[in-house]
Structures are given as structure tokens and as C-alpha cells.
């Protein structure tokens, strides 16, 4: 009694994976080479997490021209900016990214420095400012008067309210209570306590407005707006996220490598590893190098997930090959037959699994936006590549390693070895 099943796959005409495989493998290797070439030349379109900077998502009540937004940004000294429409035209929504991490432009710093010198001619004022951690300016004054914090407040903060918020004195250096000893050291009872202005340098910390605050305030000149999202990542955080991301990818690959080493023998493991490396790299090529999607922390997560998925696809097929490699399979032709059989047997599983997985990732890509959409797109592309590489590339690699590096098990004299059979000795 044979049952009929609903199926898309006609098992009567199996696909010759063993023959097509090497061609796909060549194609895959060429694309890998392209990836390696494009990565340094074209570069990735880094997302905010990795590049650092500020990004605002704003929605205007009335239509606004991108040129108008850009000119406002340039007027405020945000020369390096990106202005992108978000959603449909009627939404009036914009993504605005600036590279600078601080509300102070170079011109601002210069102007402040001049102002400072004019206000404190005797204090040899020094302005310390680092653009990479730029939410504060440090002002150094030599031998300041008691009320210099007030004077500084008046000279800088009040005059530059757009830029600055508060002045804070670095406490403790201010007054030096000196014990002046009159008439010899021993006679301490006669000592007079005296407050003297400190002659050294005093540090004042001037807190700056946030970049996002400054941006939204200056953009308000274009019409009423709602700030829907603010992202700010400073240079140090961006740097540590980059290292952590790379480390995570390495760790995941190392983990998978160890798992593969435990799971497979020497003929299977290299193929599994190459296929596993191949898939995330090609996803990187298609989505981030050619597609120019922004590469952000969720992208690293997506690549890691692809690694997991693609190893799994390979394992299912290799397991089936191993299951069917009985002791009497000796010639390369037999091995090819086994491989073809195994891939065809698991073919419907491979296709159905990738289909149901795509049924969940594609809706996410359709309905969401921004980083999560990139994430879903990367996964979808990666899963398709992963399936193709499991079906074609992994078997081809197995055949390659089996053919070129096979060492026959040591056999007792008189037994027929594989080589003998292949050479037609027997």
C-alpha cells in the first residue's frame, strides 16, 4: 500500500547535485573573492553604533524641503550630514544624521576662546575641549578672583545660551586656607588663619547643550516638529562596539568550529567550515556591500544567526551522506551516487524549512523599518544563501576533500583496497 503525498518535489527526476555542485562552488568562491576585494575598497556603510555621531528622526507638521534642512544644518556648523526621507512623502518625516558629537563647531570654539581672553585678560585663560567627548568644555584660569565662576557664567554661558548650560567649578582648588605662622613655628597658638586667593590654576567645567537638543531647536525654525527618535553614540562607545562585534563573530565561529571538529571527521569538517564562512560573507556582500544597507549592531546579530542556520543546513545533509556511506561504497562514482541520493532525500526538507523561515522573516522586513528591517533582510538573504550552499557547495566540498585527500584505511594483505579497485587492478 503506497500513500500519495502532497508535494512540490518530484522524486522521480532527481537533481544531479554532484555535477552541478562544483559549478556553484566556483561561483561561490568567485563571489567570496569579490567580497574580500570590495570590503576594503567599497567599505561598509557604518550605522550609528559603529561610526558614532547623532541621529534624529523628526516629523514636521508641514512639508519641508530637504535642501532647507541641509542649509539649517550647515548654518549650525554641521557640515557633514545626511538627510533622508523616512517613509512616504506625506509623512514629512526625516532622518537626520550628523557626524559631529558635540554642539560646538570649530568656529564656536574659536569664538569662545576669543571671548574668554577678552573677559579674563589677567587670568591667562585656556580652553580645553575634545570633540570626541564633547558635552563639556573645560576652562582653566590662573589665580582667579573669588567670583570668577559668576563672571564666567556671565561672559560665556549667558551670552551663549544656545550652546551652554551651566558652569561648575572644580571644587576644592578654590580657596587655600593658609596658616600663617607669626614669630616662629613653635608658637602655634598665635597662628592666624587667613584665607588667601589661590594662586594656582582653577578648573571650571562648562556643561554644553546636547547635540540633539541643539539640532531640534534649530530645526524648529522650519516649522513645528516632533522628535520621534534620538540616537547618540560617542566615539569611545562606537569603538568598543566595533571591537566587541568583531570578537563576537570570531567567538561564534570558534564555537561552531569546535562543534564541527567534535561532530565530523576530517573529510566533512573542512566543507562544513567553508560553507559556514561562505554564507555570512555573501550575505555581507549582497546586503551591505552591494545593497548599501547600514551595518549596525543588529547586523552582527543577523550574521551570527546566519552562521548558526547555515551550519545546521550542512549538518543535516552531511549526516544523511554519512548514514548512506556503507562499507561497500568505495569508488568515487559510488560516493557521488550516495551524495546525490542524500541531497535529493533531504531536498524537500531543505526547501520547506527555508520557506517557512522566510515566511517569518519577510513579513518583519515588510512591516518594520530601520535597523530591524535591515536585520530581517539580512536574515532572509542569508537563509537563502545558506540553503543553496548546503545543497550545492557543501556536497561539492565533501567530494573534493574525499577525492583529493582520501587516505585508505590500512588493510591487511590480500584484501582489496579502494585504490586497487579504482585502478582496475581487481
Amino acid at each position: 500500500m503506497s500513500q500519495k503525498f502532497f508535494t512540490f518535489f518530484d522524486l522521480k527526476s532527481p537533481i544531479d547535485f554532484a555535477t552541478i555542485g562544483p559549478k556553484v562552488l566556483t561561483g561561490g568562491l568567485v563571489l567570496l573573492a569579490v567580497t574580500v576585494l570590495l570590503l576594503p575598497t567599497l567599505g561598509l556603510n557604518w550605522g550609528l553604533d559603529f561610526s558614532g555621531g547623532s541621529e534624529l528622526q523628526v516629523q514636521f507638521k508641514t512639508p519641508v524641503e530637504p535642501g532647507a534642512i541641509r542649509s539649517v544644518l550647515e548654518k549650525e556648523g554641521f557640515g557633514k550630514n545626511q538627510v533622508q526621507r523616512y517613509g512616504s512623502e506625506s509623512q514629512n518625516e526625516w532622518l537626520i544624521r550628523v557626524e559631529r558629537l558635540t554642539a560646538l563647531s570649530d568656529d564656536d570654539v574659536k569664538r569662545l576662546d576669543d571671548k574668554l581672553k577678552a573677559a579674563f585678560p589677567d587670568g591667562a585663560p585656556k580652553l580645553e575641549f575634545s570633540a570626541s567627548e564633547g558635552d563639556r568644555v573645560i576652562v582653566l584660569l590662573k589665580a582667579p578672583a573669588i567670583d570668577d565662576a559668576v563672571a564666567l557664567q556671565a561672559a560665556l554661558v549667558a551670552a551663549e545660551a544656545q550652546l551652554m548650560k551651566t558652569v561648575e567649578e572644580d571644587a576644592g582648588l578654590r580657596l587655600r586656607r593658609t596658616r600663617a605662622v607669626d614669630g616662629g613655628a613653635e608658637n602655634t597658638d598665635d597662628a592666624v588663619l587667613r584665607d588667601e586667593p589661590y594662586q594656582g590654576t582653577v578648573k571650571f567645567v562648562v556643561q554644553l547643550q546636547g547635540v540633539s537638543d541643539k539640532l531640534s531647536k534649530s530645526l524648529a525654525s522650519l516649522g513645528e516638529l516632533e522628535v520621534r527618535r534620538v540616537d547618540f553614540v560617542d566615539a569611545r562607545v562606537a569603538e568598543s562596539l566595533r571591537t566587541d562585534g568583531l570578537l563576537a563573530l570570531m567567538l561564534a565561529l570558534a564555537g561552531i568550529l569546535i562543534y564541527l571538529a567534535l561532530r565530523f571527521d576530517i573529510y566533512f569538517a573542512p566543507g562544513a567550515l567553508i560553507a559556514t564562512l561562505h554564507d555570512p560573507l555573501l550575505a555581507l556582500l549582497f546586503v551591505f556591500l552591494i545593497g548599501r544597507f547600514e551595518f549596525d549592531t543588529p547586523s552582527v546579530a543577523a550574521l551570527l544567526t546566519i552562521v548558526g542556520y547555515s551550519v545546521n543546513g550542512v549538518i543535516v545533509i552531511y549526516d544523511r551522506i554519512r548514514e548512506n556511506l556503507t562499507a561497500d561504497v568505495l569508488t568515487m562514482d559510488d560516493v557521488k551516487k550516495v551524495v546525490n541520493h542524500a541531497v535529493n532525500d533531504t531536498f524537500s526538507r531543505s526547501v520547506i524549512t527555508v520557506m517557512t523561515t522566510l515566511m517569518t522573516t519577510i513579513p518583519v522586513a515588510i512591516f518594520t523599518s530601520g535597523a530591524v528591517r535591515t536585520f530581517a533582510v539580512t536574515l532572509s538573504v542569508g537563509f537563502v544563501i545558506g540553503t543553496l550552499s548546503a545543497l550545492f557547495i557543501a556536497p561539492a566540498l565533501y567530494l573534493f576533500f574525499r577525492k583529493n585527500f582520501y587516505v585508505a584505511p590500512v588493510v591487511a594483505e590480500g584484501e582489496v583496497t579502494r585504490e586497487d579497485r579504482e585502478r582496475g587492478v581487481v
Binding site: A171, D189, P298, N312, T356
Partner: protein
């Protein structure tokens, strides 16, 4: 396996019951109306009244990207904390030398050298140095000597102390920020340490990053406000809660007039309720703040209200210095002496001149510290907060020290910088939630539809398995009080897609066996046992990626990893254990055909 099918069914039904139990709060939470949600967001305790008494309290929390909110990473300036430490030691050394009458000309904190960890003292004589070495040096274990030339000794803060100060600074920052955020009425804020010198702050439902930054980073938390003792609105409150009582204590003003301090006395844990109770009852121009009542050790701690004029007359901005003074024989309590800036001096002088005989509240971090009567105008620019209460002198000195420190350093032990900030507006959060809902619906419908068309009844069984899978994931998340973000939902959907792989592996094997002519029962048995190793493999590789992600990620990425990892466990359980029960039930009557 056949004969255990009923037992297995009972196990699964039991687990489902447990899942329903732990999920109850989450289901209720997400079923709240927008108004109720806002109420619960303002006050976590309010959620209890929507819960049946038997239900647990932890529920799934929508992430920042779904409900809007602020995420920030703050850097703590640890060098400054060490420098502060050096400065305090130099102050201590100076006072010490003065008290012990050791001759010296100067004690300095060398702010500019060695990242500010240097202290130097110039002594008046060789004998003075000898006295210091003999009698005092042992008290300065937190310093290590760097150099000695002539009458001058230079120290640096001892490396052990530096390590301690740095660690303390981050912990203290977290504590201080937590205290400040408590006053913002944000539900379930999370304030955690990240790396050596960073603090991560998450404020769900909070929309204004600049306001949050101002509150977290502000230095002024000391306020002086006049008490409004003429206002007797409290005497007219007729529906005071039973656990509170109205108290009046009279005092004589120095112009002979008699005034009354009217307040509500209540147990400490009712602070929120009193706040709630007074909403809408306080006349305009007046605010009610709260302070601790003195209590003896072992007694219940009680709080009281203070009726104050709304105007804040003076803040910590106008403060230059705060120091601990040890008190005198006449007035033995230690106190904190406050020194005002010139502007502060002026304001404080005016205020005290105008209000002689009235009480002025000293409000620290929104809590009334004390409300002394102004006996005479204070124009010298100095004020003091006296330590009270029935505590030991040591405790009072400790309190005075921390108060002075709080006042001086603006409560934060070291300056902070904002290194990362992500804000999602509430409207964007709603859009994201809608997107997540649509994507989930479409994804799940597609998968279920496909499975039922392709595998018929066996596909339906797979769908039941997936529903169970999702139920268990939600139950575990709810039990953990986990957060669900947009990437988390993507992880959930991905789990559905990949969990399906297990069903497909099993069903394809069953089909193969049926094609080979096996009976339905042995095909099912064979399908499950041969597919098991592949299912395990698939989930182990996903788990490896998930664990690495969980380690690497923060926030949304970690969330994705969490759902993925929980999904791995529930997938193996539902796809292998649960769905098998349904096949076995189908085959109980020994049927030979299987809809697959």
C-alpha cells in the same frame, strides 16, 4: 511509547496550566486600557489591583523601542573621584595638624599633578615632621609617600585606595542616579554597571531625553523653601486615611505671635499613598513635601508632611562649600556648615531678614531635612544643618560627612558624561508595536497555512506544537519578568520558522518510511527516532550563536538572544515530546493510515 501516551498528555496539560498561571500578569498587563497602562507606568504598585490575588506579579515588559523611552550610557570620570579623595584627605590632614598643634605652613592638594592624586604638606620645623611621623602617619594609610625634600612631604593616594575609590565611585553613581530617578516616577527603570567606568540607564516610557539628562546630571539638589504655616488646609481634610493622623504643634514666634505647624504623620511605607491622597487637595501656591520624623532605634519609622510655599528661594547652585563641624560643648551635635556664594549670600540674607520668626525648610533631594525657625537675619553667608536624632555621635558624624559630601559634590561622586543616548518617542514605539503585531500575524498565518496544506493533519499537529512552543516561550519570559523588544519579537518569529525545521525533519522521515511501505505506527516511531539527532544538532548550533550574541549584545541584541535561547529549549521539548503525543493519540486505535 503507546502505553505512556496518557501520562505524557497529563504532563503537557499540567505544564500548560503552569504556563497559564505564570502568564496571567502579562495577559492582564497587555490587556490594560491606555489610561490604565499610564497609571501602571507611573506607579508599579498600582498594577497589583488589576491582578487576582493568586497571580504572580512579574510580567513581560515591553522594551524601550515598543513603548518609547530613553536609553543612556554614562561615563564616570574616575580620575576626578580620586582627585576628590586626595582633596578630602588634604582637608583632614590640615584640620588634624591644627588640632594637634603641629606647626605647618601649608597643606595642599596638588590638583594638576599626577591626575590630581597628590597631596603635599610643608611643615614648620623638623620637630613637627618628627611628630607627624611618630604620632600621625599611621592614621593616613590612604596616602603613600612619594617624596620628601626639606620641610615638604608629598604623598599620593595609595593604589589600594585608588582602586577602592574608583569602584565606589561607580557604585555611588548608580545609587545616586537611582535615587534621583525614583523621583521621576518612571516604571521599572534599570540602572546597571557596564564595563569599569560606565553606567547604563534605561527609562521606559520616558520621552524627554534632555529632561532626563538634566535630572540625572544636575548638581543642585539642595533647596531652601519657606514653610507655609498660615495655611491650614490640612485641618479641613475630612477623609484622612486611617493609618495616618493629623498633628499640630504650636510654637511662639519671637514677635510674640503664636504659630502652628500642622502636618500628617504616617508610616514610612505609605509615602506613595499619601502623595496619591493629597493630589488635587493642595491649594495653589503651596506644595507639600515630606520628611522623616525622629524616632528611637527599634521604633517604627514615621514620616510627616511639610506644607511649604511653592517658591524655591535658594538652591544648591548658590553653595560654595559645605563642611562638617564637630559641635561645641554647648551644642554637642555635629553640624554641616554651609557657605554661600556672593549671590547666595545676598539672597539668603534677604530671605532670613524678611522672614524672621518663620520656619524655613531645608530640602535635600526633595526630602525635607529640617525646618528650623529663623531667629535672626543671617547675613554672613553661612548656614548650618545640625545633625539630630537619637543616634550615637559616631553615626551623626558619619551622616554629617555624607551630607557635606552630597552638598559639595552635587551628590554624584564624580562628574559624568553622556556617551550614548537612544530615545524612542512614544508614537514611534506605538508604530513599532503595530509593525511587530502585523509581522507576527502575517508570519504565523503563512506558516500555519502552509503546514496544513502541505502536511494536512500532521501539519495541524505541527501547528499545535508551534502554538505550545510560543506559549511556553511567553510563559518563561513572563516568569522571568523579561523585556520584549522589536528584535526580541523577530527572534520569536525566527524561532517559529526554525522550530518548524524539527517538524519538517520528522514529517519527511515519516513520509519516507511510509513510502518504503512501513505501517503508520512504525513510520512515526522511525521518523521521531531518526530525526532526533538532526533536531538536536540544529538547536545546538542555534544555541552556540545565541550564547555568543547574549554575551556580546546589550539591550535589543541581548533580547533577541534571550528569546532565541529560550526558543531552543522549548522547541526541542514541543517538537519532539509534545507533537509525538498527538500522533500517538491518532494511532491509539491502531489506524494504518496517516494524514501527512
Amino acid at each position: 511509547m503507546q502505553n505512556t501516551v496518557w501520562i505524557r498528555l497529563i504532563v503537557v496539560v499540567g505544564l500548560l496550566g503552569l504556563a497559564a498561571y505564570v502568564m496571567t500578569p502579562s495577559v492582564i498587563y497587555f490587556g490594560l486600557s491606555p489610561d490604565e497602562t499610564r497609571e501602571v507606568q507611573k506607579d508599579t504598585a498600582a498594577f497589583k489591583k488589576y491582578l487576582p490575588s493568586w497571580a504572580p506579579e512579574s510580567h513581560i515588559v515591553p522594551g524601550l523601542d515598543l513603548q518609547g523611552g530613553v536609553h543612556m550610557v554614562l561615563g564616570v570620570d574616575l580620575d576626578k573621584a580620586v582627585s576628590d579623595r586626595a582633596r578630602r584627605v588634604s582637608n583632614r590632614l590640615r584640620t588634624d595638624l591644627e588640632e594637634k598643634k603641629v606647626a605647618f605652613t601649608a597643606v595642599d592638594h596638588l590638583g594638576e599633578e599626577g591626575k590630581g592624586d597628590r597631596v603635599s604638606a610643608t611643615f614648620g620645623s623638623d620637630e613637627a615632621i618628627a611628630t607627624f611621623d611618630k604620632d600621625m602617619a599611621e592614621n593616613y594609610a590612604d596616602l603613600s609617600e612619594v617624596s620628601r625634600s626639606g620641610m615638604t612631604i608629598t604623598w599620593r593616594v595609595h593604589p589600594d585606595w585608588v582602586a577602592k575609590v574608583r569602584a565606589d565611585a561607580v557604585d555611588q553613581t548608580i545609587k545616586t542616579i537611582s535615587n534621583r530617578i525614583d523621583k521621576m516616577h518612571v516604571t521599572e527603570p534599570s540602572i546597571t554597571k557596564r564595563g569599569d567606568d560606565q553606567v547604563q540607564v534605561q527609562l521606559p516610557g520616558f520621552a524627554n531625553p534632555e529632561e532626563a539628562k538634566a535630572l540625572i546630571g544636575r548638581t543642585a539638589q539642595l533647596e531652601f523653601q519657606m514653610c507655609d504655616d498660615e495655611n491650614d488646609f490640612m485641618t479641613r481634610l475630612t477623609d484622612l486615611p486611617e493609618w495616618s493622623k493629623l498633628e499640630t504643634s504650636g510654637y511662639q514666634r519671637n514677635n510674640g505671635a503664636y504659630a502652628q505647624d500642622i502636618y500628617i504623620d504616617f508610616p514610612e511605607d505609605r509615602l506613595k499613598d499619601v502623595r496619591q491622597y493629597l493630589v488635587g487637595k493642595v491649594p495653589s501656591g503651596t506644595v507639600v513635601k515630606y520628611g522623616r520624623l525622629n524616632s528611637r532605634p527599634g521604633e517604627e519609622i514615621r514620616w510627616r508632611t511639610h506644607t511649604l510655599k511653592a517658591e524655591v528661594n535658594l538652591t544648591g547652585d548658590d553653595l560654595v562649600n559645605a563642611q562638617v563641624a564637630m559641635g561645641s560643648p554647648e551644642q554637642p551635635q555635629p553640624y554641616v556648615a554651609i557657605e554661600f556664594s556672593p549671590t547666595g549670600r545676598q539672597l539668603f540674607g534677604d530671605l532670613t531678614t524678611k522672614n524672621v520668626g518663620k520656619r524655613m525648610a531645608i530640602v535635600l533631594e526633595d526630602v525635607v531635612d529640617s525646618a528650623p525657625v529663623i531667629n535672626e537675619p543671617i547675613t554672613g553667608g553661612n548656614a548650618s544643618i545640625t545633625m539630630g536624632g537619637s543616634r550615637t555621635r559616631e553615626e551623626m558624624i558619619k551622616d554629617a560627612n555624607s551630607l557635606a559630601l552630597v552638598l559639595k559634590a552635587g551628590a554624584l561622586p564624580a562628574p559624568i558624561t553622556f556617551r550614548e543616548e537612544k530615545t524612542v518617542g512614544a508614537s514611534l514605539g506605538r508604530d513599532a508595536l503595530d509593525a511587530a503585531k502585523s509581522a507576527s500575524m502575517l508570519g504565523i498565518l503563512l506558516v500555519f497555512g502552509f503546514l496544513m496544506i502541505y502536511y494536512r493533519l500532521s501539519g495541524a499537529i505541527a501547528c499545535v506544537g508551534l502554538v505550545l512552543n510560543l506559549t511556553f516561550i511567553f510563559a518563561i519570559l513572563s516568569w522571568l519578568g523579561g523585556t520584549v523588544t522589536l528584535p526580541g519579537i523577530a527572534g520569536l518569529l525566527l524561532t517559529v520558522g526554525m522550530a518548524n525545521d524539527a517538524n519538517v525533519l520528522i514529517n519527511e522521515r515519516i513520509r519516507e518510511d511510509l513510502r518504503a511501505g512501513k505501517t503508520a505506527r512504525s513510520a512515526v516511531q522511525g521518523g521521531y527516532s531518526t530525526a532526533f539527532s538532526a533536531i538536536l544538532d540544529s538547536n545546538i548550533t542555534t544555541a552556540i550563536a545565541g550564547i555568543v550574541l547574549w554575551q556580546y549584545g546589550s539591550g535589543p541584541i541581548q533580547n533577541f538572544a534571550t528569546t532565541l535561547l529560550i526558543g531552543v529549549v522549548t522547541t526541542v521539548f514541543t517538537a519532539v515530546f509534545c507533537t509525538r503525543i498527538f500522533f500517538d493519540l491518532l494511532l491509539v486505535k491502531d489506524r494504518d493510515t496517516l494524514s501527512i
